[in-house]
Structures are given as structure tokens and as C-alpha cells.
Assembly symmetry: C2
Homo-oligomer: 472 residues x 2
Amino acid sequence: MLTPVILCGGSGTRLWPLSRKGYPKQFVPLTGQESLFQATARRLSGPPFRPPLVVTAADFRFIAAGQLAEAGVTPGAILIEPEPRNTGPAVLAAALHALSGDPDALLLVAPSDHVIGRPAAFRAAVEAGIAAARAGRIVTFGAVPDRAETGYGWLEPAEAAGDAGHPAAVPLRRFVEKPRAALAAELLAGGRHLWNMGIFLARADALVAAFDSLAPDLGPPLRASLAGATRDLDFLRLASAPWGQVRAVSFDYAVMEQAADVAVVRCDAGWSDLGDWEAVAREVAAPRAGVTAIDCDEATLLRADGPGLHVVGLGLRGIVAVAMPDAVLVADRARAQDVRLAVERLRERGVAQADALPRVHRPWGWYETLVAGERFQVKRILVAPGGILSLQSHVHRAEHWVVVTGTVRVTIGDRTDLLTENQSAYIPLGTVHRLENPGRVPAVLIEVQTGAYLAEDDIRRFEDAYARGSGE
Amino acid sequence: MLTPVILCGGSGTRLWPLSRKGYPKQFVPLTGQESLFQATARRLSGPPFRPPLVVTAADFRFIAAGQLAEAGVTPGAILIEPEPRNTGPAVLAAALHALSGDPDALLLVAPSDHVIGRPAAFRAAVEAGIAAARAGRIVTFGAVPDRAETGYGWLEPAEAAGDAGHPAAVPLRRFVEKPRAALAAELLAGGRHLWNMGIFLARADALVAAFDSLAPDLGPPLRASLAGATRDLDFLRLASAPWGQVRAVSFDYAVMEQAADVAVVRCDAGWSDLGDWEAVAREVAAPRAGVTAIDCDEATLLRADGPGLHVVGLGLRGIVAVAMPDAVLVADRARAQDVRLAVERLRERGVAQADALPRVHRPWGWYETLVAGERFQVKRILVAPGGILSLQSHVHRAEHWVVVTGTVRVTIGDRTDLLTENQSAYIPLGTVHRLENPGRVPAVLIEVQTGAYLAEDDIRRFEDAYARGSGE
């Protein structure tokens, strides 16, 4: 039995505007209906996999939990990192946690922001690594390169690491850091090197031992953070104070590049990390809905991500254009890596779209602003089945609710009513109120707010089912 | 005294997505707060100008009237063409109408979809043409060319037509149809030719005589159409049956290119017809709001036309990107002329954005759909002061109204109430209702519709203040 460890705390900006700080790439349905995180969780579910250990950031905990539920995956645990510390501490925390439940735990550690085109080949590679991992080695996986990529690290096996049909774990001779173009061309031509997929298989105790030997400063604060961890609903929240002492370091740098006994399995599974729009354009068939391309070349990527949005490309050569209702990126495809610079520029200019999406996810569902005017704002609100908004009041605004789908239980002052499609409620300024969905289908409401001050911070919470801090 | 004749019935698509069939270029605030039509009306108001004669299409009558009111211009008349027939019939109708009120009327005929950068120079040119026009000649105006433009017709004066400081009317030797590149270069190099601005000055009786002599088939049906015209609110609606017999023909083709006695005045007034995005990029400083350009060249035009919308350009060379909340154009600037082909493609594909804008203008104000879901739709509605929606009912939908600004009078069944900010009303399915703004400021409402069928054609009208046909 294998325990998947899924890392989903990262927050990249190179796929802006689709991926934003508050809702990053791994949670976005980039390739279809499902997010990359959901695809990863499903790929690593069912025998021989146990329920996954998920490690994420506090900001993403409700997104991760919600997406797992939607994908039908029940996690073994969701570990919350109080602050980002790169992948090293996340892996060590997961290994220590797994070890506490099973001294023989075997972990398959994977990020959640990549695609694997051929899952059967991936699974065969994992299986080929089990014996070596059982024997105490750290087994890494190497994708078969098809170009002289300078954006990935490369792996040099000590001998041929199996072939597509018969993967086998062989010793790893060395890691090659992201190479320059000439070296990458050489590595590709040599035919032996593989791309580092950032996925690996190992016994939890072997991982902990490797950390204790190669990065001994991480263990003490991490163990303290885990010992002081608190249960928070379905989450295990690592203790902040010791976590704050933990050094930020990648797992590759802290352990893999120094470990003596690393094995590698060749994995010809159509892997891509979708690191930027160039990679997305290369790997993913663009959705055709909402797009009209006229005399555009094959290197051009056009996307319309939003209902009722249409993008027209005319005579384009190697252009990436990604449109959302609140933000549009138009870039030379060769500049795909620099999209993060564009996002930094937006932040400097105070443009909200740099980090925030129109739809804001909450533990009970989500809301999005449809229109904001002077003294009024209109939101669409979805309350998931079982979702309960906090008992709250506002000093500066009144609210009208109109139910358009499903059924909600509405508390206004001392009174509680069930409202269903086509019914409405009025919440006068200052009145304590609460909204819940007692039903089995999502409830959708339109909320019209009126008042002189309509920001989110005009909220006084009396009770909250989700133990949230202020501003959450 | 001069009577301006402003032609605003055209409907181009080369500035899509900003200009669409239902709300074309001349009515769009392309260069600032004001539309090109409004700028034209204001440029041609005040002494020596009389109130303008406006000729437009039925579809645009409320837009034209509303924009004139907004610009503070009171028209002499607004003539409604039952169907588009190009500029020739529009000019003849205006001339006949003017003549009926004043046998000595002197007309300055102008389209409404161009810019004039130096209005004083334009006015000086107009004044320089008055004597020749009074004497019975048709006076045309020629812009000073600064490039070998193949998209315009050119004018060849018989002698030097004045200079920038001292424009003078001189005989026109000939029209040059849109030339090929080589000829255009020759015309430019020669230094004598001018661009045809499509603006001209003439006595109404001279125009009518020219039509009767050069395009004699137009007069009879046009006179019948004018004789049968009906007053419709502030509009003079030409009779449809005879208008249907009128040949579609441009004024240049029907009259100007054949007329014997045409004069031309050199007009160095910074004119451009803004015929496509290439011209807009050349002539108009792009608004910077909502745009971030990184390493884009000067030939790149980025526009964000919509509140809360941001466009990022990265590493672009000669790209036009125009974003609206429902539609985005990304085009090679050299392909600007082909935007109309793109719009045709969208029409073939049945994409609503080809012709329709999210905001729909009505005589009483406007509405726009904020979100449309299964079984519900949310609209923002603005009712102008004095605006009255028709007395109506719906078979398939119920409506909730929440007033967010201003005051409205609401009739639901037998009951009439005044609702102001923060009050709401519910209109059950099938109930006769009406909405009016009795106040002095615009009223804004949020309407939430619920029901199985939510299209605009589920409406039964009992009374309408604006004499509208079905679907208007």
C-alpha cells in the first residue's frame, strides 16, 4: 500500500490571468472540467493507494477540501502550513505525520500542478519503483525528454533506466540543474538523460532519516510544529510559532541532490509541468468554445475563460491571448516566462486583478461581484449543500436576497424561514442574520447591497462554523 | 445662416467589438467622454449654424435623440430612414425637407463618424466656401494628405485651393476613386491633391436640382416618402412604401462625381474618418486606464473598454487588442481592414457578440444583463428622468426589482407605489406592471428574473409611450 502525499500550497503567477495568488494554477480547470489538483488526486486514488495526505496553505484549505469532495476523494489528512516554506518542510511534515500512524508507511510524493497524459504508463513506473523504495532508497521519476528544455532539472541514470514498456529502478548518477541551451541540447542528443518530474517514492522513515542527516536544522522546529498542531474541522493545522523557525528550502536542494542512495525510474507518461503559457499551448488542446481564429498560426493560443465571453484572433503569429471577464493577457509566446513580471508590475500599480479573482471562495461556497456602483453592489452567491454563513451583521449596508436556485434557511433577527426559488428576503442595516443551505443541491442567490460603505470588512461575526480569522 | 445636415444612419463593423450593428461607431465614445456623433453635433452648433437636421435609421433614433440631449444640442428635425439607402437619398431627403421651410436654405452636410482635430481651421474652411455655395455651386472639402492613403477618395483642385491660413474655394477638376498604392504615392508626391472628407456645403435648391438632373429616378419616390412622412414623437418618419422604391446610392456617386460646378476648399483641420483600428491607433491617444503595456512597440494599440477590466500586453509588435467584458479582438494591425470579415464569421457562427452589445438602449434608458443562468437572469436597468416602460406582462417569468439609485413609480396590477433607494417590489408571473421614473435623476434598479423562459420576446405590451414596434 502506498500513501500519496499531494503538495498543493504553491502559488505561481506565470499562468496569469487564469492562475492568481488567491486561486493558483493547481486549482484551475486548465485542461477541462477538472483542476490539475483534482486530476492528481484521482490519479493517486484506488488500490494500491491509501487516502492521500494533502499539504497546503491556510489560504487554500477550503478550496482543496472542496475540490477533493467534488472529485470524490476522501483525504487521509489535510495538513495546513502556517506560511509557505517551499517543498522540503512540506515533505518532512508529511513523512513525520505518516510515520506516526504507520512505521512502514511508503509515500508517493507529488506536486499537483502537472499533467500526465498516459496514467497507465505512470502507474507502471510507480510500481517498478516499489521494491527499491521498500529497500530504503529514495526513488525519483524521470520523464523522457523530447526537446532541449532549459526550464527543467535533468537526471542522469547510472545505467539505462528501463524502457517505455519495462520501467526499472536504477541508481541515479547525478542531478543536472536547469541547463543552458547548449548543454540541454547535448543531454537530449545523448539519449540517456531524463527530466526531473519532482515526483518520488520512499519509505517515510527513510525520508525522515535523510532529512535528519542532510538538513538537520529542519527536524526540531518541524517536530515541534507537528506536536503542537491543532485539529481545525477536517484540517490539521501545524503550530505557527515553531513553523516560523523552519527554513524555506526545496526538497530537491535539501535532500535529493545530496542523498547517496537515490534511484530513478524512466517514466514515459506524457508528463508536463505546464509551467507557463508556452507549455500550456504545447501540451493542452485549447478549448474552442468562445474562440474564433482567423488566419492565426499554430503557435497562437487563444482562450476565453468565462461565460458569455468571445475572443477573436486575426492574422496572429505566435501570440498567447487569454481572456477572462476582468482581465486579458496578450503576449508574444516567446515571452511566456515573463508573465510573472507583468503580474509584479500590476501589483506595483495596485491593480486588483494581479492577485484576486472575481469569484471568492469561502468554506460555505463562493460569491462574486456582478456589478459595483456608487452606493450599491450586486453579488451572486452560491451556498453549497450544508454550507452555513456566519451569524453576522453590518453597520453600513442593507441587503436584499433573491433565491434563484435551491433552498436556503434564512435567519433575520429572531425569525428563521425557509426560502426557495423566486422568494426574497430583506435584511435591514444592523440586523443580525444568517444564511444556510439545508438542502442537497447548491443554492444560488442574488444579493443586492445598498449603503454608503460596501467593503467586505463591514462585518461583525457572532458565530462561525468554520473557525475563520478576520478577513477570511 | 447654415443648416447642418448630420448623417448618422450608417452601421460599420470594422471597429468591432467597440462598434456593433446595434450601436455603431458614431455613437461610441471612442476618443473620450463624447461620441463622434456628439462631437460632430457640437462642432456644428452655435452661430452661424442653425439647429441641425439629423438623418438616421429607425434603430438608432432613440440613441441619436438621447445623445443630442446629453450634448445640449436641440435638433431642428430628426428624419428617420425606414431602411438604409446609402448617403444619396439621405442627402436628398434632408435637402427637400430644408427647402420646404426655407427656399434659401444653405446646407453643410457631414457624416458623424470622423474626427476633426482643429475645429477652428475647419470652421475657417467652411466660411471660405460660403460665397461659392451661395452662388449655387456644391462646395466640397479636401483634407491635406500626409501619407499615400489607398482607403480614401482623392480630390484634384483645378488650382491651388488656398493654404492652411487662407482657405479658398476653387474649382474641382476631378475625383480620384480610392487609388492603388503607386497612384496614391504619386498623388501625395504631387502636393496638389487632397483627401475627400465627404463633407460639403450647398444651397438646398442647388442640391435638389443636381439630383433631379443627375439621378432623376430618386426624386419621385423620395418626394412621395417625404409627403407621406409621419410625426412620431420628436421624429419625422419617412413613409416606408415609397422609400422602399428608392435606389441605394452614395451621394458622391449619384451627384458629386458627375456635377459640373463643384468647388473645393483645402481644409487642414486634422481630419480622420477613423475607418478601422489602424486609423484609430494612428489618430487617437489610447486611453491608459485599464491597460498595462510591457515591451510593446508604438504600433501596438491596447484598449480596455469596460469598468473593472484590465488588459496586459507583453512583448507585442504591431498588435491591436481591444477588450470589452463580453468580447475581445486581438489582431495584427496590418489586418485592421479585415475585422469586418471576422464579424461576418461570428455572424455565420451565430455568436451574439457579432452585433449585440451587453447594454441595450431603449427610449426610456437602457438595460444590461449582468448574469444569465439556468432559470434566472439578473439585469441592471437605468430609467432616465421621465422615462416610462410599457405597461406589460410576461407569461413565463416573475421579476424582482430592487431600487439602488433614484425613485421610480411602480404599477403592479391595480396598485401604484413610489419606490426609492433600498426598496423592492415583486411582480408575479402574468401580472400587468409598469415602471416609470417621475424624478429628476436617473433611477437604477437591479432586476432578478426567474422562470423557465427568460428571452426578451416573452412580453405582452398593453400601452407604450414610444410607439414602438414589436421587438423594440
